[in-house]
Amino acid sequence: MSPHQLTSHALLDLFKSRQITPAEAYADVVNRIKTIDPKVKAYVHMAQGEPDFNGAIPVPIAIKDNLCTKGEEITCASRILKGFRSPYDAGVIEKVKKSGGAILGIVNMDEFAFGSSCETSCYGPTFNPWDLKCVPGGSSGGSAAAVAADEAMWALGSDTGGSIRQPASFCGIVGLKPTYGRVSRYGLIAFASSLDQIGPLTKDVRDCALLMNIISGYDDRDSTSVNEPVPDYTKALVNDVRGLKIGIPKEAFVDGLDPEVRRAVEDALNLLKKLGAVIKEVSLPHTPYAVATYYIVATAEASSNLARFDGVRYGLRVQPKSVRKNALVDMYEETRSQGFGDEAKRRIMLGTYALSSGYYDAYYLRGQKVRTLIKNDLDEVFKDCDVIMTPTSPTVAFKVGEKLSDPLSMYLSDIYTIPANLAGIPAISVPCGFAKSGLPIGLQLMGKAFDEEMLLRVSYTYEQNTEWHLKKPNL
């Protein structure tokens, strides 16, 4: 097996036994990218210069294009940030570098993370390694595709409504959205500040625990970072679910759920039951309102966050030839009109509408109140359950172009992932089978706030008793 095909923990074992050096492993992955990426198009550019491999975990890593990395052009896959070379490292990038992490390059995403398919990127789409005619999911589609195609040992992504878990599911890998506040958002270019969280995309659950150990922890530069002690997540990798209570929301198994996805998740459920878990049917009565709530709250926050992209300081600036209002306002409008793609404009306008005078109470305030109801539903279920299990996505990966012209149907692909963001709780996607088409299926586990360990334990047990995570796409 070539180094790039290994998991990060297997590669670390080889470093320890001196069978390969970090520099050799890095060169092997770079070579893999050169061979495969012209097909997958996960990367938007390779990193500047060679890493120093100076640290305990010198593993090659891919970074999503919204995480500020010193000296790299970071654009959120948007024309409006073209030319922005970050003058500083995000909190997670500092931690990755300190651990010896070797940054391979910057990977693709939906523009400003607005999408579930990686198609709204100004660089063009990334393709699913399992079927190049299909999307890799999004918004962290580049991160997921790179890991699935062995073009990175692991990757960082961000998740606002499912942007780590849904692409992990579509690409047959593991993706974790940590508890809100677990990982510093300092240096993450904001989409919806009350929902965004950075997390790992990895080849298996052990790697997920290892990368969580690297990136977790308090950071006083993010005022929403929570000062809770960080456990050693690898200690949670226990192959035992006996007596654990798994809640199955009856609302999750409704119309619109692909029968093949349903069967795979039900099989997983039966396996966990056989391994000793206690299955409980539960109800989350307000989940049918989650997508609507999300598209109010998230776009309102986005419209405010994206106001900073105005051509004044960095990125793109376009001055129209003729004066319309005045030189400065004309510059704002021209820059934003040329800089943002259509989906970004749509979301900014939707958020502006939800916050505008006369509509604030009917949309934004009401959305925040329904958010409370959704959170209360989850709190209630967690009084008597250790985890909640659902599919990660109602379908497997769809075809490139299939949903691009219908924003609402794209939004609905996040139906299972959104509640965890609204409630701030952690959630993981792990591979649980394949459709007849050969495309991967993922299951989602949601946990209590700051109980990532329980998610890792249940997913590790599931993984140790299945072989889905060992399958590789044929590229």
């Binding site: 929570v226 598209y295 109010i296 419209s303 510059m331 009109s337 502006t352 509408y353 959305g367 924003p407």
Partner: protein, 95 residues
């Protein structure tokens, strides 16, 4: 509640986005569809529900007022589209 072309023009102006005539129809339609979808939130009685603005309840987060190292003026301006006299330069605002 439906969205008209006039609404889209108004929102676009608030958001400092210029929507050209040939895109107006498309945005009106897609925004209208989404607004219609989120109407389902009106079905719920939320009169006695407190809004959640943040999943983790945090109050004001304060820190000691101590100067820490940060970017120098030169480093900060290295990313500027246009700079002059140690500042970001913008088009003339007041004639």
């Amino acid at each position: 509640m439906s969205i008209t072309k006039e609404d889209v023009k108004y929102i676009a102006a608030l958001a400092r986005i210029d929507v050209p005539e040939d895109k107006l129809e498309g945005f009106t339609k897609s925004l209208g569809g989404i607004v219609q979808y989120v109407e389902k939130l009106q079905e719920l009685d939320v009169a006695h529900v407190k809004p959640t603005s943040h999943a983790v309840p945090v109050g004001n987060v304060l820190r000691p007022d101590i100067i820490k190292p940060s970017l120098t003026n030169k480093e900060a301006l290295a990313i500027a589209v246009e700079a002059k006299d140690g500042s970001f330069k913008v088009p003339l605002v007041i004639e």
